[in-house]
């Protein structure tokens, strides 16, 4: 029943759980050693990781429709967060309903393995349909601003995230364990890079890259993250992906660079609107958008990288 690819996905998941156990032990030890310090935020963060990893593990082990439904739900939460956060026009309330409708459709194309539709549905059809629907309502005040805001949200939360789902059906057998391996590879490296950039930044970060957007992002953190993420990609790619050694290394650095930009782009949006977090769905992390910020960039770029070279 389980082929070798699925075995490697399960072993990597087991290692991830091992890391979580270590993290939980560290948090517990910190609490005991320094009872005066407040570790609530850190403890919440780790606990949320347990939940997220478990949900993901269930989704990619079940595969097929369940995994797609899981990613569609992430898109839904992210879009809802976006639309609750950005200013929208009262006149466009029903247009927002159409925005939500794009989620089941976009994931239906993934389910059908219909690449042609998947890749143009939001960039072309949703792009044309939203202003069409808006113009029928007739409100022209702030029309351009609204049309752009809504489409940008769809691209960010539905289009990019659905690339992660398309990885599942990318291998020719359709929804094979290899697809699950690709998803795990992308997610692990993206999230690892976030953590690595943070840690390297704390250790040897001095010169800021974009101080006006994200004062915590430093060259030290960025380069440290780039190197460690590429190294991890080198180790993981033969286990989880068909990538050759050089391509694995390249994929790792691609994810590190793209992840950095996804992170700061969402930061810029939050600064523009004037909020610290996009939501509060994930205790200790903020909203779903705060968690998948890097992924909005890494998912489509990694997808096209591997599709061009291997599928």
């Amino acid at each position: 029943m389980f082929n070798s690819a699925s075995h490697s996905v399960l072993s990597i998941l087991a290692i991830v759980y091992g890391v979580l156990v270590v993290a939980s032990i560290i948090v517990a030890t910190l609490k005991q050693k320094h009872p005066s310090n407040d570790y609530t935020e850190l403890a919440l963060r780790v606990r949320s990781w347990w939940v997220m990893v478990t949900l993901l593990a269930i989704a990619i082990t079940l595969r097929g429709g369940w995994a797609l439904a899981f990613f569609a739900f992430i898109s839904f939460l992210a879009l809802k967060e976006y639309l609750s956060m950005v200013p929208t026009r009262r006149a466009d309330r029903r247009v927002l309903g159409w925005c939500y409708l794009s989620i089941p459709l976009q994931y239906l194309w993934v389910w059908q393995d219909w690449y042609g539709m998947f890749i143009i549905f939001i960039p072309v059809y949703a792009f044309l349909f939203l202003p069409l629907r808006m113009v029928l309502i007739g409100a022209t005040d702030r029309f351009l601003q609204s049309a752009s805001t809504l489409h940008w949200g769809l691209m960010m939360t539905v289009f990019t995230v659905s690339h992660m789902a398309f990885l599942l059906v990318l291998p020719e057998s359709g929804g094979s364990a290899q697809g699950a391996g690709l998803v795990l590879f992308l997610l692990l490296l993206t999230q690892f890079n976030d953590v690595a950039q943070y840690c390297w930044g704390k250790l040897l970060g001095r010169r800021k890259i974009v101080p006006s957007v994200s004062p915590n992002k430093t060259w030290g953190g960025f380069i440290g993250g780039l190197l460690t993420t590429s190294l991890l990609a080198l180790i993981l790619s033969p286990v989880l992906t068909p990538l050759s050694v050089w391509h694995g290394l390249l994929a790792g650095s691609l994810i590190a660079v793209a992840g950095f930009f996804g992170d700061v782009v969402i930061s810029a949006v939050k600064r523009d609107i004037g909020v610290k977090d996009a939501g509060s769905t994930i205790p200790g992390h903020g909203g779903v958008l705060d968690r998948i910020d890097s992924l909005t960039f890494t998912a489509p770029l990694f997808f096209h990288f591997i599709r061009y070279l291997y599928f």
Partner: protein, 212 residues
């Protein structure tokens, strides 16, 4: 018996799943909500969903004690709506038009029985995400029941999700900020003023822009 079971399924399962997965609440200071009656929760009102969202935050074992004060002329307008409002949601119908007898008699009776009342002093959902003037019935209840805890709550977002006059629901996250209990201070006008201030201060925690 069957309606009780239906109510349990609707409030305990369907409503909770809907609120959790489709709406999504961001609740601040949930621990300030009462966990037993008699108690009154006072909130601003923008949508039918306000009641459902608030009920989902109260303990299920108190289900039989929860009553949302609602307009009789609106919710008892036909038999199906009336059945759903009375038996499934569990509203306490009151008449909005002033008559000879005390419109608050039902509320007082419920408080005597130890119920948790949900009360929307605006009296109507009104324009979405805008607060109308509070009616003063709550001050009279506070005066009559000075020992009953009254908890002010500010809600934002559901007026966008399902405003008055719309039948199509559009998902939005909903913020619910719970304030500290507001006790009776000896004067109705003063009580109303401090209630309005309490809700306004809660609203300021969220930096919400106007919706137009």
């Amino acid at each position: 018996m069957i309606t009780k079971l239906l109510r349990l399924i609707f409030i305990g399962v369907i409503n909770r799943l809907f609120v959790l997965l489709v709406i999504g609440l961001n609740v601040r200071n949930r621990q300030r909500l009462p966990d037993s009656g008699p108690a009154i929760i006072v909130a601003n009102h923008n949508s039918h969903l306000d009641t459902l969202a608030l009920i989902s935050l109260l303990p299920l074992r108190r289900l039989n004690d929860i009553q949302a004060v609602a307009a009789a002329d609106y919710f008892l307008r036909n038999r199906i709506v009336a059945w759903f409002a009375l038996k499934i949601i569990g509203i306490l119908p009151i008449r909005r038009t002033t008559g000879r007898d005390d419109p608050l008699a039902g509320c007082k009776e419920a408080l005597d029985q130890g119920k948790i009342l949900l009360l929307f002093p605006e009296g109507s959902r009104g324009a979405p995400e805008q607060r109308a003037k509070f009616k003063t019935g709550i001050a009279r209840l506070a005066e009559a029941y000075p020992e009953v805890p009254i908890t002010p709550v500010f809600m934002h977002g559901l007026g966008k999700a399902l405003p008055k006059g719309e039948i199509i629901f559009v998902p939005f996250f909903c913020d619910i900020f719970v304030g500290e209990n507001l006790s009776w201070q000896g004067d109705r006008r003063q009580y109303m003023a401090s209630l309005v201030t309490a809700i306004e201060n809660l609203a300021k925690e969220g930096q919400f822009s106007t919706w137009d």
